[in-house]
């Protein structure tokens, strides 16, 4: 109910934010449509820019990606949650509590400015941070899986901070129902 009363303003803001992100990604990546593939596991497309212009069925994975925000971003070489990230994760926790039929996968990613082995562990540390936060907001650990992709799956490709900052991320990918 509370979600419903605020959804008008919030949804409008989210769409604007998502569209802005999509533009930023387009500036770096020649094929933003591939984002959904790049974030494996999402059934409705986990990319932040996907479907930004269209309505999403409430309770769908697309609804989660577009209206809640499926990803949080990190500072360079850090796994600390920013205030923006905790706000996103609070919305994710509320949505996941509202739709308990979903399991989800937390993907940890790093930007390319690090060595391969270290970045795998850094991605794992970021996904662990997100898992811990969602658990602290009451989401059962039994619904979560996590995986690190290190620096192997960038969403934005260029030699510039505008890309790196998008690649330092943890993505919550909705995996489907039939749990809890």
């Amino acid at each position: 109910m509370r979600l419903a009363t605020t959804s008008g303003w919030n949804a409008a803001l989210k769409v604007v934010a998502a569209a802005g992100l999509a533009l930023a990604i387009s500036a770096c990546s020649s094929t933003p449509e591939q984002l959904a593939d790049g974030s494996a596991g999402g059934i409705g497309g986990a990319g932040g820019g996907i479907g930004a212009g269209g309505p999403a069925t409430p309770g769908s994975a697309q609804d989660f990606a577009v209206n809640v925000g499926d990803r949080v971003f990190f500072e360079s070489d850090s796994s600390d949650l920013t205030s923006t990230a905790t706000a996103t994760l609070d919305r994710q926790a509320a949505w996941l509590a509202r739709y308990p039929r979903y399991r989800f996968l937390v993907e940890g990613h790093a930007d390319e400015r690090g060595t391969r082995e270290y970045n795998y562990s850094l991605g794992a540390r970021r996904s662990q941070t997100v898992r811990d936060y969602l658990a602290s907001r009451g989401i059962p650990a039994s619904r979560m899986r996590s995986v690190s992709y290190g620096k192997e799956r960038p969403v934005a490709v260029c030699n510039d901070i505008s890309c790196w900052s998008q690649n330092r991320r943890a993505v919550t990918a909705i995996e489907g129902g039939a749990s809890s």
Partner: protein, 471 residues
């Protein structure tokens, strides 16, 4: 540098023979069977007596520092079976040239085509400037087996430095060239050879967001590329065993945790290593090939474990609330070098092989990672991240004597040649481009690209195929 073998030094008492053959039987098997080669891969060798009385050898180059000049050398067209002779002598010349320590004479300046059973006309060769001359003969018997013979001549002294013959099956023709090049290289530099080796690497293709990463292996000169995985799982961090044809690597199916696996090139068997709940990464074999170091993810931390491949017994070696990864044994197996961010940024630490007494050894500006202990024991190679890019360097095992060998936006993943004289790294300019492999030497003077079919990363050098461990 106590472990360093003598380089050059005083002339050996005559008769001069191939250094690494003197303590072995005259005929021996120096290659193991392998799936990558035909079953006739075994190569037998024997020393050839000199044709003229040997004098003092002066054909040496000291490659310990960067102040050497490449030695002018002529690799004559070998005689015998036309196809095989041309191929083998071409490989010898190309190997010696790419090493950076030799300057092969252009064929157009050859004054003669020497026969194999007589001494060359030294007077005709001296004006070319060539100090060394390699002559050879490759013949085929009725069953197709190949015999390759070569002699290395000191043109200035007018004497044979070394002569050797090898026999093998037809499928190992290229290896004959590499083995002869190794014999010439090691005789003149005093450093062990490295041409008869392979390099495992990650073959990369497709857009960077969805890049296909396959495990591949090739000869060190880029020939005979073979793909060992199909790309259904993403493969990174291959590490060759220093004694066998086993390769450990990380394999990640989409949506699943990466796991360390080991593939054996002789049997083709492939297995997941260990039974862990979380991600395993960054494998590295022990010098005896029987144990594997891995990094095991434990929540937000990564710790280093040793895993006995036969008994499957695992031993925890670090226990920190940090990312400990990229472990590498010393060649005697007594110590382990690794990277950790336990002090904030990634730095290099060394500890006993049982995990005892970890201590930091890198203290320069920036952060250090991917330490790799030279098979010669004298140096640690590393990747150094600093403003402006990723450099590759070496330092002594106590952390002193740091030298940067190459810099740029993104250099990564140093792996040692079995002779401890060269590294292969990968260099990625970023964007939609991708990595390429380069060989650099420890003096910083030599750099040569390794040809690969596509983008390539994470090189790992094999031991000498003919047996004998690194160094």
């Amino acid at each position: 540098m106590p472990e360093r073998p003598s380089l050059g030094g005083p002339p050996s008492p005559h008769p001069i023979r191939l250094a690494h053959a003197t303590d072995r039987p005259a005929t021996m098997m120096i290659a193991r069977r392998s799936l990558l080669l035909a079953s006739s891969a075994a190569i037998a060798s024997a020393a050839l007596p000199p044709l003229v009385a040997p004098a003092r050898a002066e054909l040496v180059v000291d490659v310990r520092r960067g102040n050497f000049q490449p030695i002018p050398i002529a690799v004559a067209d070998f005689v015998g079976d036309p196809e095989a002779a041309t191929l083998v002598s071409g490989i010898v010349s190309a190997d010696l040239g790419r090493s950076g320590y030799f300057s092969p004479l252009d064929k157009g300046r050859f004054p003669e085509r020497p026969t194999f059973d007589a001494a060359p006309n030294f007077g005709a060769w001296r004006p070319t400037g060539a100090q060394g001359l390699v002559t050879g003969r490759v013949t085929r018997d009725g069953s197709g087996r190949l015999k390759a013979e070569f002699r290395l001549w000191d043109v200035v002294a007018g004497q044979q430095v070394v002569g050797q013959q090898y026999t093998t099956g037809a499928a190992s023709m290229r290896r004959l060239g590499h083995i002869i090049a190794d014999a010439v290289y090691s005789k003149i530099t005093g450093v062990g050879g490295y041409f008869d080796t392979r390099v495992a690497f990650v073959d990369e293709s497709g857009p960077k967001e969805r890049r296909r990463k396959r495990l591949a292996v090739m000869d060190q000169d880029g020939a005979n590329v073979r793909y060992l995985t199909q790309g259904d799982s993403s493969v990174v961090s291959p590490r060759y065993s220093p004694v066998t044809q086993d390769i450990a690597f990380m394999s990640q199916p989409s949506g699943q945790q990466p796991r360390v696996q080991v593939i054996n090139l002789e049997t083709g068997t492939r297995q997941v290593v260990g039974d862990f709940d979380d991600m395993t990464s960054s494998p590295r074999f022990a010098p005896d090939g029987r144990r594997l170091l891995i990094a095991l993810q434990e929540g937000g931390n990564s710790n280093i474990y040793a895993l006995d491949l036969a008994s499957k017994r695992t031993t925890r070696l670090t226990n920190s609330s940090a990312i400990d990864t990229s472990p590498s044994y010393s060649p005697d197996g007594a110590q382990i070098i690794f990277e950790s961010d336990r002090g904030g940024k990634q730095q290099i630490y060394v500890m006993g092989a049982d995990g005892s007494n970890p201590r930091r050894i890198s203290f320069g500006q920036g952060s250090y990672s991917q330490p790799a202990w030279s098979p010669r024991g004298d140096l640690i190679a590393f990747t150094k991240q600093q403003p402006g890019g990723f450099a590759i360097g070496v330092m002594k095992p106590d952390g002193s004597g740091e030298r940067i060998l190459t810099e740029g936006f993104h250099n990564e993943g140093p792996t040692w040649a079995p002779n401890g004289q060269y590294l292969v790294i990968f260099r990625d300019p970023g964007g939609q481009s991708g990595g390429k492999l380069y060989m650099i030497d420890i003096t910083g003077k030599v750099e040569a690209p390794l040809p690969t079919p596509s983008f390539a990363s994470d090189p790992s050098w094999s031991p000498l195929l003919g047996g004998g461990s690194a160094g």
